[in-house]
Structure formats: structure tokens, C-alpha cells
């Protein structure tokens, strides 16, 4: 099992190096935005991969509420963590892009606001899982929080669009990209999605092992003190 994950991780790292090579060597420089435009490839890919992770949290949460299946809950836990990491990547890379292009790290535009709210909601989800006693009860609570979080973000996005938006609009679906850029973007997106899937897989395995560990072992692993657990 561990061997498989090691191989998959190696493949993911190689794929990300390939994507990096394409971004810096193959894709042409943007006429107007120059070098900072290269942030776009990983920024949008990370955002899409994060969204896929939160979709997995939603699916896992709904399945868990319907069936009480522990595997669905583990999927939600694993995907939420990876999703928060990818959202962090999206936010940080977006800020690095915004500084030279817009002249500021942050602006309260619809996309930026809703991404930040997304990050806060799922960071709260992870904290709920960390602070509450593990067990079927908190799994149910977290599933409810995961579903509400997913509903909230599009609402925030559409409510803020009243304000003027400075974020670049969709360029993929409108065919605005030259073919080299489009290919680079698609490769980067595929590699990022693969990387995200591998990370979710590894995290899922860790959650499985934690669930199967004898009572009290988790406290040792995590290095935190907990009350004795009644049910796992």
C-alpha cells in the first residue's frame, strides 16, 4: 500500500516538474502582462483542483449523512485538508499576480472575497474536526458544516458581483488563449488535479490508519492530550 503511494507521489512530482517546464519554457510571454502572467497557469489550476476537493467534501458529506458510512467521512476529511492547502496556494499566487498587475495585493472583488470566505469556511471545518472529540457525532456535524460551506460560497460570489469586479474574466471558455498557452494550461491543470488526487489518497490512507488505531494512539500520533474516548 505504502509502495503504491510512493510511486504515485513520484509520478505527481515529475508531472508538476513537466508543468513547470512548460510554463516557463514552452508558453509564450504575454504581450501586455509580461512575466507575471505565467502565474495564471498554476493559479487557475490550483483553484480548479481546490474546487474539485470541496466537491468531494460535499459528496462525502451527503453520502455520510445518508448512509453513516465511515469511508465517506474519511474522504470528506482528506479532501477538505487538501482543498484548504490548494486554496491557500490560489490566494497566495493571486496576490503575487495582483501586486504588479493591479498595484495592490488585495481588493474586495467578488472572486477574491468568495475565495477568502471559502478558505475561512473550510479552515473552520478542519478546526471543528480537530477540536471536537472524534466519533460519529462530530462526523455528522462536520458533514452539515461541509454542505453549508459549499452552498455559501456561490452565494457570496453572486452577492458581491454588484460591486465592480477587477478580476480577469474567463479566458478558457471564450477561446481567448493562443494554442501554446492553452496547451500549457491544460497540461498544468491535469498535473495539478493528479497531484491533488494523490494527496487526497495519501491523506485518506492516514485517516484510515488513525481510525483503525487503538484508542489513545491518536493522541500520541497527533501529540495532543485528549479525554479518553468512548466510541470510535
Amino acid at each position: 500500500m505504502t509502495k503504491t503511494y510512493e510511486r504515485l507521489t513520484a509520478v505527481a512530482v515529475l508531472l508538476m516538474l513537466l508543468a513547470a517546464g512548460m510554463i516557463f519554457l514552452y508558453a509564450p510571454e504575454d504581450y501586455l502582462q509580461k512575466e507575471p502572467q505565467r502565474i495564471f497557469y498554476l493559479h487557475v489550476s490550483a483553484a480548479i483542483a481546490a474546487f474539485a476537493c470541496f466537491l468531494a467534501v460535499l459528496v462525502g458529506s451527503v453520502i455520510y449523512l445518508r448512509t453513516e458510512n465511515a469511508r465517506a467521512d474519511r474522504l470528506a476529511r482528506a479532501a477538505a485538508l487538501v482543498g484548504v492547502v490548494l486554496t491557500t496556494v490560489t490566494l497566495v499566487m493571486g496576490m503575487l499576480y495582483a501586486k504588479p498587475i493591479w498595484g495592490t495585493f488585495w481588493t474586495w472583488d467578488a472572486r477574491l472575497t468568495s475565495t477568502l470566505v471559502l478558505w475561512i469556511i473550510y479552515a473552520g471545518y478542519l478546526l471543528l474536526r480537530r477540536l471536537a472529540e472524534p466519533g460519529p457525532q462530530v462526523a455528522r456535524y462536520a458533514a452539515v458544516a461541509g454542505i453549508f460551506g459549499f452552498v455559501d460560497v456561490p452565494i457570496v460570489y453572486f452577492s458581491v458581483t454588484w460591486w465592480r469586479t477587477v478580476h480577469p474574466g474567463p479566458v478558457i471558455v471564450t477561446n481567448a488563449l493562443p494554442p501554446e498557452m492553452l496547451i500549457t494550461f491544460l497540461v498544468t491543470m491535469a498535473c495539478t488535479l493528479f497531484l491533488a488526487a494523490v494527496m487526497v489518497g495519501i491523506r485518506y490512507r492516514i485517516e484510515t490508519l488513525l481510525d483503525e488505531a487503538p484508542s489513545g494512539a491518536e493522541a500520541t500520533i497527533r501529540g495532543t492530550q485528549r479525554e479518553p474516548e468512548l466510541a470510535r
Binding site: L65, V117, I120, I121, G124, L127, L128, L131, A132, E133, Q137, V138, R140, Y141, A143, V144, A145, I147, F148, G149, V151, D152, I155, V156, S159, V160, W162, E227
Partner: protein
């Protein structure tokens, strides 16, 4: 159906009666929002020019944090007496019990708004009109539904004081976006009041439906 409505009203009446007898929460909340206004005054260096631009923000900050206290308390008494389990053992549906608790908490928050809105108008010199009150009341409905759902959730989790704001505040943001817009317009800013209020009503319907669907999973054990 009528049975559930009766249960909800009975639970709400129970909570309001116990609040009336102890008179603990509402005076504390009233004091809290007045304090928030005093702190805002020092934090912002308020004068007659900037009061109208700052007041909507102060209103929402005070209301949101008062709401967290009110909803946190909604289940605190039940937890201390372990009476929630007893209520859930009765044949009454958990959703009806939840609706009653949310109704009572919403009314307590409205009692706190009765202090907040006139105090804001008095101390900040902002208009106090029907449009303003309507927007705040509409936001209270949805905020109460969400706040009570998460209060019920964290009541049985350790570190509940930390978790309640963390889970609730981000989900209240839609209400603050639309409600904030409506209150700004009601206080004299330019913009569409009707659009903001229409959105508030939409959010109310959406989140009341969603929370009543989710209440079963939170209260059921």
C-alpha cells in the same frame, strides 16, 4: 404539522419564560451593544461628517457579536441541566424543538436590536426609519436559523466558545453583504434598497429551509 407548530411554540415559550424570570441575557446584551457603540466611538474618532458612513459597519459588528452571545446561550442552559436529551426523548420531532429554540433566540436578539437601533440613531445621529428596521429584522431571521443550528452543534463539543464564531460568522456573510447594502441605503447612501431586501428574503427562505433539513442530523443522537 399543527402538532409540530404547537411544539415549536411551546419550546419558544419555555425559553422566553425562563429568560423573563431570570432576566439574564437581554440586559447583558443591551449593555453589550451600548458598549460596542462606545468602543466604536473611540476607535473611529467619530464626528458629524463620518458618522453616517461608519454607522452601518458598527451596527453589523455589534449585532453579529451580540448574536453569537445570544445563540451560544440558547443551548447553554439546556446543556448545563442536560435537559436537551430529555426533550429529544419525547415524541416531539427534533425539527420542531429546533424551530422553537431558534424562534426564542431570534426574539431575544430582536430585543437586543430594540436597544441597538435607537442607541445608534441617538449616539451617531443616523436616521431611524422603517427601511432600516425592516432590513435588520429580515437579516435576523436567517441569522437566527443558522446561528441556532451551529449553536446546537457546538453545545456538545469541547472548545465551543471558539468554534461557534468560527463556524457561524462565515455563513452569516451573505446576510451581512445584502443587509449591509440595505442599511447603507436606508441611512442615505446611493444604491438599490429593493434589490438588497429581495436578496435578504431569498437568503432567509434558502437558509431556513436548509437548516430545518439539517436540524435532524444535528439534534438526533
Amino acid at each position: 404539522m399543527t402538532r409540530s407548530v404547537e411544539v415549536a411554540f411551546a419550546v419558544a415559550r419555555k425559553d422566553l419564560t425562563s429568560e423573563w424570570r431570570t432576566r439574564e441575557l437581554v440586559p447583558a446584551l443591551g449593555q453589550f451593544v451600548v458598549l460596542a457603540l462606545v468602543i466604536a466611538n473611540f476607535g473611529f474618532q467619530i464626528d458629524s461628517q463620518n458618522a453616517a458612513t461608519i454607522a452601518p459597519g458598527v451596527l453589523w459588528l455589534a449585532l453579529v457579536f451580540a448574536g453569537l452571545v445570544a445563540f451560544g446561550r440558547a443551548f447553554a442552559a439546556e446543556r448545563e441541566q442536560a435537559s436537551l436529551e430529555a426533550m429529544l426523548l419525547t415524541p416531539a420531532s427534533p425539527v420542531a424543538i429546533f424551530a422553537g429554540k431558534a424562534l426564542a433566540a431570534a426574539l431575544l436578539l430582536i430585543a437586543c436590536e430594540v436597544v441597538l437601533l435607537p442607541a445608534l440613531a441617538l449616539l451617531f445621529g443616523t436616521p431611524l426609519n422603517v427601511a432600516l428596521v425592516a432590513a435588520v429584522l429580515l437579516a435576523t431571521v436567517g441569522m437566527a436559523a443558522l446561528g441556532c443550528l451551529f449553536a446546537a452543534m457546538v453545545a456538545r463539543v469541547r472548545a465551543r466558545e471558539v468554534l461557534l464564531p468560527l463556524l457561524t460568522l462565515p455563513l452569516w456573510i451573505p446576510f451581512i453583504i445584502a443587509g449591509g447594502q440595505a442599511v447603507q441605503v436606508a441611512m442615505g447612501a446611493s444604491g438599490s434598497y429593493n434589490q438588497a431586501v429581495a436578496l435578504l428574503i431569498d437568503f432567509d427562505i434558502l437558509f431556513v429551509v436548509l437548516t430545518s433539513l439539517a436540524a435532524r442530523f444535528v439534534l438526533d443522537d
